[in-house]
Amino acid sequence: MALLEVRDLRVVFQRKGEVPFTAVDGVDFDVEPGQTVGLVGESGCGKSVTAMSIMGLLPKRGNKVTGSAKFEDTELLTLSDRQMRDRRGRDLAMVFQDPLSSLNPVIPIGLQVTEVLERHRDMSRRKAMVEAADLLDRVGIPDPRRRLDEYPHQLSGGMRQRALIAIALACQPRLLIADEPTTALDVTIQAQILALLAELVRDSGTALIMITHDLGVVAGLCDEVNVLYGGRVVERGGRHDLFQVPRHPYTYGLLQSIPRLDAPKGERLSPIRGSVQDNIPWTSGCAFAPRCPNATDTCVEVTPEMVPDGAGSVRGERLLRCHNPVAQEVPA
């Protein structure tokens, strides 16, 4: 049985006097216990909103969330605010993009770790402090006892993100959502943080949803990958399948726009043309059609369905939402 089962998740932002905007438009995916699943796409594709709605962190007003997100047979979307608060931080936890702004600047790191322990594990402040030092040690922060009394601005970017990971894992949640956890960090630090995350989830058996626009992150970490476009999953597969045989033109485009050192000299990078703003609504065709090199008349008339894709399934099941998938393989 899946740990998390997301079905037909829709998030519509509706502000008074403005045209409603559909940020997430029917997303389905599963996360098995201990599995690492990637949600990939460029900014505005709905990946962060998906995570926020699963966590129940969207603002209370101005949006409508429909569909289903079942966590161990509990429907998260219909939980009361209080019930959701009891679960957040204990069963599901989240790590955010910008570690500096995600930590409270005026209270010490120690308290920011212990408050979650006090809340969910009924620990006394004193016991929680010992546990917090242990947690900081486990995420690789040197001299953790001293760090407990320090403030976020006294830590380096990498250390801050480690502290946030320690906070998220403090109550041993079964699901961790990491929303672009390395984007705001230096490249050298990025690799360390990813390695740390991979190690921690492996050791604790925590399932991880990795939200990123960086295919490199996905390649190194994820068991299964969901490529999102315009608020829908357009392609799903194991990471090997997906990288070796990208079938959706969007996935293909993403891979093609990564510079490669082994590319023949003189070959140009081929970026995807246009931007998310060129999207058309899914109801009237394929949202990616305006930017798609393979687009035909069918693409703007018939909405493509998510169907098993035989051609791309090398090692596991493969799903695809496209009328004209890419035929060729990525040059190795």
Partner: protein, 340 residues
């Protein structure tokens, strides 16, 4: 931290020093002058000349300033010529300063006690009726001239309804014991409860009038600061930890939102002093403000000089304290060595 304090104190000395010179020069350039004020416009030339010499006003201004400085060093700021002729300026200051301090303190307490909770609630329920109502209230609070508000309060609550006394600091008949010059404190210290209560009753209306502008400003800054903080990433982190709402409110929202509010409170002390000049006149409240108004009317140089200097000094001092308390709330300033 210590270096910072010393530097700010030095700054205070410089500001007050420069200000004293400017004020001194400025007072001498005022038309009229104490001689006319004391003797009237129709005095003879001879009597004018005699008084001018008596007051030392015939000497060059730098000599006068030097004399003022040397005397001031020993606590002698001259004798009042208009506000309370015969009393020394420092006597007048010591007598009246506690009154204004009491009044301003109560006013700022009212402004904080109403402004901060209301600002917080308005931000939490942004766009709701409480939010809109209190925004309109705060805008009206700024638009109403302080002395007019004082008049209305006095007329309705004191004169017509008789709930409060109309003027002064305390009923004369009470014969209260004086200890500190703060009438409320005196009443508490000597356990003369009727005296303390009477002093409080005298303070309430002027304090409400005086608090109108600080309240408006503190309310709006609190509201804006809370709105800003609610939007911060670390609030989202706190929510993602599943913390309860009271903890998030207290530990994460309010502590961060207080930073700009504290600065604002310091800046409002200036507005309080200005407001005191107007409010004290309406309620015939014997404080610094009333003395200033009288001093201007009667060209009382020594009193004006001392009172304005003290007003500026208190203003700078309070803002220094505010900056220091800021450092206590915000660890980023504390650990950066207090430079900025």
């Amino acid at each position: 931290m210590l270096r910072y304090t010393v530097r700010r104190l030095l700054q205070l000395v410089i500001v007050v020093g420069v200000l004293s010179l400017l004020l001194f020069a400025w007072l001498r350039s005022l038309p009229g002058g104490p001689v006319s004020a004391l003797l009237g416009e129709r005095a003879t030339a001879a009597s004018r000349a005699r008084l001018t010499q008596e007051l030392g006003l015939d000497q060059p201004i730098f000599v006068q300033y030097w004399k003022f400085l040397t005397r001031a060093a020993s606590g002698d700021f001259g004798v009042s010529t208009g506000v309370q002729p015969g009393d020394t300026a420092s006597e007048i200051f010591l007598q009246r300063f506690p009154a204004t301090l009491e009044l301003s303190f109560l006013a700022i307490v009212i402004a904080i006690a109403v402004g901060i909770p209301l600002g917080y609630l308005a931000a939490r329920r942004r766009g709701g009726w409480l939010d809109n109502l209190s925004i309109v209230g705060s805008l009206v609070g700024v638009a109403v001239p302080v002395f007019f508000l004082a008049f209305v309060l006095k007329q309705v609550l004191a004169v017509d309804l008789g709930w409060f006394p109309t003027a002064g600091r305390q009923e004369g008949g009470l014969d209260a014991t004086r200890v500190t010059g703060f009438f409320v404190l005196d009443g508490v210290l000597t356990q003369e409860w009727d005296a303390a209560w009477d002093a409080i009753r005298h303070l309430i209306l002027p304090a409400i009038a005086l608090s109108s502008i600080p309240f408006s400003v503190i309310f709006r800054i609190t509201r804006a600061a809370v709105l800003d903080v609610l939007d911060e990433d670390f609030i989202r982190t706190a929510e993602s930890k599943g913390l309860t709402t009271p903890v998030i409110r207290r530990r994460h929202v309010l502590r961060n939102a207080m930073l700009p509010v504290v600065t604002t409170i310091g800046l409002q002390t200036g507005a309080l002093l200005a407001g005191a000049v107007l409010t004290e006149k309406v309620f015939a409240f014997p404080g610094i403000g009333q003395a200033l108004a009288l001093g201007f009317e009667r060209r009382d140089y020594p009193v004006l000089l001392l009172l304005i200097l003290c007003a500026a000094g208190v203003f700078v001092l309070i803002n220094m304290l505010v900056d220091l308390s800021y450092a206590l709330i915000d660890p980023r300033i504390r650990t950066a060595g207090g430079a900025r």
